[in-house]
Structures are given as C-alpha cells and as structure tokens.
Point group: C2
Chain length 199, copies 2
DNA sequence: TATGCTGCTTACCACTTGGTAAGTTGATCT
DNA sequence: AGATCAACTTACCAAGTGGTAAGCAGCATA
C-alpha cells in the first residue's frame, strides 16, 4: 500500500475514533469517510483492533518526538516545564482530537490492558517526572509526590481540552472563548504555585 | 415496577456503562447481568437511550444532594472547599465508576448535546464557583479566572480517578497504592497553592 | 506471454444490535 | 368470580456488525 493511502486511513480512523470511540465507529463508517469499502480497510490492517492499534501507535510516536524536541526552550527547569505543558495545552498538531482519543483509551484499556496502557503514557510520564525533579525543591521528593503533581497538571490540561463541547454548551461559544483565553495564564500560575509549594 | 427492581436495573446499567461505554454495552448484556431478558429492560425504560438518561439523571441527583450536604464542614471557606474536593476525590459512594461514566459522557455529548451536558455539570460548576468566590482574594476575580481554577482542580481529581487501571498497569498494584495514598495530601497542597496565588 | 504482486471490489456469512408485537403470570381491586 | 394492571416472557425482525473467500485490474519483473 502506498504510504499516502495508509496515512489517509489512519487520519480518518483517528478522527472518528476520537469523536465516537472504538465501539461507536464501524469499519464501514471509516471506509465511507475514505470513500473506500470496509474490506479495503481490512485488507490493509487485518482487523478493526489492529487498525485501532496502528492509530494508537502513531500517536505514541508523535508524543515521543514531541518530548524529544522540547528540551531547547528555556533555561530554568521550571520555565522549561511550564513551556512544555503550555505547548501540550495549546496543542499544535491534531491536539484536541488526539487528547480525546487518549482519554477514551484511558477509560477503555482496562480490558485491553495487555497492549496499550504502557505504550505512550509510561515514557511520557517518566519524562515529565524528570522535568519536575529538575526543579530545585523537588529533587528529594518521593516518587509518589512527584507523580502526584505531574498527574494533577496533566489532569488540569486534558480534562479542560476534552470538555470543550460541553463547556461551549453551557457557557456559549463566546463564553468558552473567554475561558480558553484565560486558561493558559491561569495554568501557568497553577504550575508555578504547585512547584513552589514544596512537598 | 417495584422501586427495588428499577434501582437494580440502574445499578447494573451504571456499572456497565461506566466500564464499557454506551456503545460498548448492549441491552442484552445489562439484562444478562440482571438475570432478566432485554425486553424487560425495554419494558421498564422504553429504549436504551432512555435507560442511559435515567442513569445520568440519578447521578445528577446524587451530585445535587452531595453539594447541598457539604456546607457544614469547616469554618473558613478555603477549608470548606478543600474538604469538599477531597470528598469528591475519595468518593464515598459509587465514586470511581461514576466518574468514569461522567468522563465518557463528557467525551460523547457532542452528539447528544441537547440533553446531557448541562444536566449535572452546570449546577455543579456554579456551586464550585461560589465556593471559590467565597475565598477572600478571589472575590473580585473574573468569571473566566475562577472557572479556570475550578476546572483545573476538577481535572486533577477526575483524571486521576479515571486513570486507576492504567496507573496500576504501569506501576503495579502497590505502586499505585502508594500513589493513591499520597495523592489527597498533594491535592490539598495544590488547592491551597492555587487559592493563594491570586489572579 | 506468463507470473506474481499490490490494491482494491463484489459477494457472502454468522452473529449481534435495538426494537416491536403479542402473549402469560400473578397480585390487587371490585 | 371477573376485571385490571404491572411485570415480565417468547417469538420475531430489519439493519448493521466484523470478518472470510474469491476474484479482478493494473503494473512490474522474468
């Protein structure tokens, strides 16, 4: 298969899985989006599970390169961390839809625990832990304490990203726009406050 | 229908929807869990959507009573808020499974935006906003700033709750246990830090 | 010209899905 | 004793599910 076609398949699948979830999307629906037959998809990926796995794999790779690239920003480790997290929030690439898919995976992988869970999160978390540890007064905090902080900040980012439609529903499009504008600054404040409060 | 049977139906449905999502659970699966036929479920609730709606409604009510009951705790507003959020984290009732379901709803309600979104979150958020506003140096913060903080804290709580299986997969059962033990204290620190950092 | 490969398609298949229609059973009311 | 009603059940159904089998067009190699 030409790489281009494969990429198109993954794009469609990623978008649809993110929006409707694994069980909410049929192979036929993805194929229709691609203007192909579902058997073409099966021909390329073997099964629905494997297609989903390929989507997840690609996201995982994306995270890896993102983490590798994000070392050059600022000098002070706390500024580096803040910049990195804000970049995660403002989502340069597929961003939101990617976050939605990963949140779904987080909810579903109880059953598919064998494959996915560790995949992207493990290395990603480890990297973030290192960045927190690089901050002076966190150097000798316990593993659980550091991970707690990391997880709190990730939660603050991902939960907000994932809530966009709901928040727009509640506060209206412009209400959400104001919130989205205020959020990064507020997040930076929380990061600073969280890092300063020594464990 | 005896109230008891209805409750049992809602219990089963809630647990299964939380674990596998709306599209991941069939009426037959819920019925099997209840040792009934799926037609019994349809008889009681009319359709799968309505059953799901009833589950959501019950959760919404649960939140309402929880919020109403949580005024008596401490004297200082920041302590009240902290106690309330920690209670949310440690989840006395169905807790985690409930959070999972709501997280799923957050992801799905783009399409069912008409009904759900506003339901539980609207009043719940409004209540939390009031509690933050009760803290001295947040009284004249903008709506977006207050909501940002509220959402960050909710994210820190819910994202962690939802991640339990994944975290256990990565760090092992006892690794997760240590984390879960450290988390509330660390969350309290973050709340204090977040509230102290004035906008 | 034959061979084999990639990238599809049409034709099926067994199974599951949510939902309808028409009972059946047992308790309560009159 | 008869009627009514809620709480179910069995019997279906059309539509969709993921997946298999087989074939076909086009292109490259031998």
């Amino acid at each position: 298969m030409v790489q281009n076609t494969r990429t198109k398949c993954l794009d469609s699948a990623e978008a649809l899985f993110a929006e409707r979830g694994f069980y909410g999307v049929s192979l036929a629906a993805i194929a229709a989006d691609l203007e192909l037959t579902k058997q073409a998809l099966l021909h390329h990926f073997g099964s629905k599970e494997k297609l989903y796995g390929a989507v997840l794999k690609r996201i995982s790779d994306r995270f890896a390169t993102l983490a590798a690239a994000a070392q050059t920003a600022a000098t002070r480790p706390e500024d580096q961390l803040t910049a990195y997290l804000l970049q995660l929030l403002s989502a340069p690439d597929q961003g939101v839809s990617q976050t939605r898919l990963l949140m779904r995976e987080l909810l579903d992988n109880k059953r598919r625990a064998d494959t996915a869970g560790t995949w992207y999160l493990q290395t990603f978390l480890d990297d973030l832990i290192d960045r927190v540890r690089a901050v002076r007064n966190w150097q000798d905090a316990s593993a659980a304490e550091v991970l707690s902080l990391v997880y709190q900040l990730l939660g603050a980012i991902n939960y907000f990203q994932v809530s966009q439609p709901t928040l727009e529903g509640i506060y209206g499009a412009d209400g959400y726009a104001r919130l989205a504008e205020a959020y990064p600054e507020q997040l930076a404040r929380l990061i600073r406050a969280g890092l300063t409060a020594r464990p």
